[in-house]
């Protein structure tokens, strides 16, 4: 297997690791760090596909390495593992995720309560259209695979990216949230949802099988009508 070593201007270096049954990509990266080179830097936490911290580029595709079996992705017994695309490389397989999370904030990805703890709990019907739309997009684990796979991000550094816009879409559909118009304004600016070209790479590669392209299309619609009605 070859692993990216160094910062932005690094190179791929080759390692030999034993082939075992039921081995994930994260397992073999860990093997290198434990047995071949303890200076290898990479990031992981839960190892069970919940935390979203172990995403890397595996044979040209961004993947969650803890849930990706080597047997499924190795070509002729070989793996090439690099850091995620579209993010600054810190060292080896770790990227600086700050731009990714800063864009969550720019897209107003935080819930803004419209009530206090003194109010009664809001009743939300699970079968209401807004809740169905929010539920379809809610299971994001912030792994940045979509962000790394998006060429609109690559070509337009201001673009908020699939994950942040998908998050904004869930909040726009949350009736308890009190910042819809600010959020629509944020995602309707230059670099917002209208920059999306519907490549659908985000949908194709999302490990949670979410469809950010559909969420972004929803935002395009909502912001367009809000704009035409003079609300934003």
């Amino acid at each position: 297997m070859s692993l990216w070593r160094g910062g932005e201007k690094g190179r791929y270096e080759t390692y030999k690791v034993p082939l075992r049954e039921n081995q994930t990509v994260l397992d073999v990266v860990t093997f290198v760090q434990r047995h071949l080179d303890p200076t290898l830097s990479y990031r992981f936490a839960c190892r069970v596909g919940m935390c979203g911290s172990c995403a890397m580029t595996v044979n040209g595709r961004p993947r969650w390495t803890c849930r990706t079996h080597v047997s499924r992705v190795a070509t002729r017994g070989q793996l090439e593992i690099g850091p995620l695309e579209n993010l600054p490389v810190i060292k080896d397989l770790t990227t600086d995720m700050r731009p990714f999370f800063e864009k969550w904030q720019q897209a107003k990805g935080a819930f803004v309560p419209s009530q206090t703890r003194g109010d009664e709990i809001e009743r939300i019907r699970p079968d209401s259209p807004a809740r169905i739309a929010a539920d379809a997009a809610i299971e994001c684990i912030n792994c940045a695979i979509c962000y790394a796979a998006c060429d609109t991000v690559r070509w337009n550094s201001d673009y908020l990216g699939p994950a942040a816009l998908n998050r904004a879409w869930t909040l726009v559909n949350d009736v308890r949230d009190g910042a819809t118009s600010e959020r629509l304004q944020a995602v309707a600016a230059s670099g917002g949802c209208h920059a999306c070209h519907s490549h659908q790479s985000c949908q194709e590669l999302c490990p949670q099988q979410l469809n950010p392209t559909a969420s972004i299309a929803g935002l395009k619609r909502r912001t367009m009508w809000a704009y035409l009605k003079g609300e934003i």
Partner: protein, 109 residues
């Protein structure tokens, strides 16, 4: 692209699509026995219908192309929003002027 440019881009697209269909049907009709200037001009000269058809077509296409070229420039050239907007607008004005001249050329009796 912000929501304002998006609305203009998609609105002009929606206007252009049916016009393109008519245009293609006319192309198929006009090429049935080869193009000739006499045939084309006999159809268009003095026709208010064709004048407005091509007039709307030129205006919508110029706006649509301007925004499209601007978006390509912002992504694929070192130009940023402002520079790309200026360059694309220059192209759009040229497109509009040439288009308006062409419409005048074929509809004026």
């Amino acid at each position: 692209m912000n929501v304002r440019l998006y609305v203009w881009q998609r609105l002009t697209a929606a206007v252009i699509a049916p016009l393109v269909l008519v245009h293609v049907v006319v192309i198929f009709y006009a090429t049935r026995k080869g193009l000739s200037a006499a045939d084309i001009l006999a159809r268009t000269r003095g026709s208010l219908t064709w004048a407005s058809f091509y007039g709307v077509f030129v205006v919508a296409a110029a706006i649509h192309a301007t925004i499209g070229v601007r978006n390509v420039l912002t992504e694929w050239s070192p130009l940023r929003d402002r520079g790309a907007g200026l360059l694309a607008s220059g192209f759009g004005v040229l497109l509009f002027l040439l288009g308006a001249r062409a419409v005048v050329a074929v509809v004026l009796p």
